[in-house]
């Protein structure tokens, strides 16, 4: 086996990693919630505001032309990141949540008749549940969820059974934010497409951890958030196959999404502009482009994947040695997140005590209450990893958890 790549030299690129929390060096293990930002991203955003801040697609002046070019270059950077074939397939949105809502409103809703079915899975984040429940209330459609097994993997046979002639969309998470389960998206797409069912993939927890190739996956839509891939908050991406995006009606009206407007009639722009009403988050798009450059060209997505796989394996091994600790889930393939509970202890207390050690983890239901209910747990503690995390930080987590035990020792 080749040793995992050493990415520790990249820690210096992240200013926040040099800060202290409660007098301790920060150990940031909440990357599934949001990732920290490398200097290149911060500088790109700053450069935009300091040297070419302007509105896009309208101005005839120099700055507007530069801003427009940078915004569209960011779109093409995203296209390359996802290996999409055409920048028209890349729509900028606020984040994964907005991307899913856009597909629900503009693609799925017009196709739904009462009794039609929407299929999701038990692994979904609330952002891939609630938009469909809202559609269900409006249309009389049925929302179904495919179950997971005891290890935290999707029950594929059961999922396939729930793909029926009435299923109008399969919307599925790529990587679970609670268990780190990596779903076999390509297989799921094959299963759905064999029945003519389109597939939306929630890639919020996947895009920072591995190369994404939407053409290899074959999915119809793919969504992810900028802030979870080391970019700014407030910017995200919806990839959609051109044929779908062209056929979909706009979902918000306003400026920048039109070709011409008279009081009687408006002619909409083509995709992606017809989905980007109003002034978009230009600085965010520029920052996201810089983040993807950093991930692919400076660090390397393959190296990130290998490093994180090593780290996750090491964390599983170290945490298992902590007295009274139980890892939640053991999926066949895991990325990013690791959930655990400690006997006799509530995750919230665990999180508070770790915080005083400078260790940031997430505790609670992780916005995935149906999954938590299935697991029979009101809450878990979750450590989630990024490219800058180290084995030493995993050791610090294990030591912190022993301290938690100490505080609660009878």
């Amino acid at each position: 086996m080749t040793p995992p790549p050493d990415l520790s030299r990249f820690r210096a690129d992240f200013p926040i990693l040099g800060t202290a929390v409660h007098g301790r060096p920060l150990v940031y293990l909440d990357n599934a919630a949001t990732t920290q930002k490398p200097r290149k991203v911060l500088e790109a955003v700053r450069e935009f505001y300091e040297t070419f801040n302007s509105n896009i697609h309208r101005g005839v002046h120099h700055l507007s032309e530069r801003a427009t070019r940078a915004y569209e270059a960011a779109r093409d950077r995203v296209r390359r990141h996802l290996n999409a074939s055409d920048p028209r397939e890349i729509v900028f949105v606020r984040g994964t949540t907005e991307a899913i809502n856009l597909v629900a409103r503009s693609f799925v809703r017009p196709r739904l008749r009462p009794g039609d079915e929407i299929l999701i899975t038990l692994l979904e984040h609330h952002s891939n549940i609630v938009p469909w429940q809202m559609l269900r209330e409006e249309t009389g459609a049925v929302l179904r969820a495919a179950p997971v097994d005891g290890r935290g993997d999707l029950d594929l046979a059961e999922l396939e059974r729930r793909l029926t002639p009435r299923t109008r969309i399969l919307s599925v998470v790529h990587v679970s934010n609670v268990l780190g389960t990596v779903n076999p998206v390509r297989r799921l797409v094959e299963m759905a497409h064999a029945r003519g069912i389109p597939v939306l993939v929630d890639g919020a927890q996947a895009a920072a951890h591995r190369p994404i190739d939407v053409r290899a996956l074959g999915c119809d839509f793919y969504a992810f958030s900028g802030h979870k891939v080391y970019g700014p908050t407030g910017i995200g991406v919806l990839y959609g196959k051109a044929e779908h995006l062209e056929s979909m009606p706009p979902w918000q009206g306003g400026g920048d999404m039109i070709l011409s407007v008279s009081l009687e009639k408006t002619t909409f722009h083509r995709s992606p502009h017809k989905f980007e009403a109003g002034t978009p988050h230009i600085a965010g798009a520029v920052g996201l482009g810089a983040a993807l450059d950093y991930l692919a060209d400076t660090v390397g997505l393959g190296a990130i994947e290998a490093h994180e796989r090593d780290l996750l394996g090491y964390a599983r091994e170290r945490l298992r040695q902590v007295e009274g600790l139980r890892l939640v889930g053991a999926p066949a393939e895991q990325a990013g997140a690791l959930s655990f509970v400690m006997e006799g202890l509530h995750p919230h207390d665990v999180g508070t005590i770790l915080d005083r050690e400078g260790i940031a983890i997430r505790t609670g239901h992780h916005c995935a209450q149906p999954l938590m209910e299935h697991l029979g747990l009101p809450a878990t503690a979750r450590a989630s990893f990024g490219l800058y995390n180290t084995r030493e930080e995993v050791d610090a987590l294990a030591a912190g958890l022993r301290k938690v035990r100490e505080v609660f020792r009878p």
Binding site: H346, H348, D349, T352, Q369, V407
Partner: protein, 146 residues
Amino acid sequence: MSELSDLYQEVILDHYRRPRNFGTLAAADRSAQGDNPLCGDRLSVQLKLKDGVIEDIRFRGAGCAISVASASLMTESVKGRTVEEARALFEKFHPMVLGRGSREGLGKLEVFSGVSAFPVRVKCATLAWHTLKAALDGKGETVSTE
């Protein structure tokens, strides 16, 4: 560690491990349920009232050390008191855990003064009290700390 040991005082850990007045009342006059969506905590409080006095009280639920201990200590401090006294106690307790009031007259509930150094945990300490208040108000609905 001093703020931590102020938070997780021995009395609090004791009530977390062995909650008092835990369970259900056969014939409760009032009850309410409280949710803390932040940590998934959920607890219920049941009361028996007689002539304006809280004659008996029980709570049920699972939660973090702070919320369980707070519920347990709350039931001990309001049992046998009048409804007005119980309400007045919450009026004192709430500012104390927010770090804005004195501990005076709070007796054992003083042990929660350390919560004020942990602002995100204030809701854990007050969940039982909000639930008690809902039960006393007779609203019979679920209260949420969010």
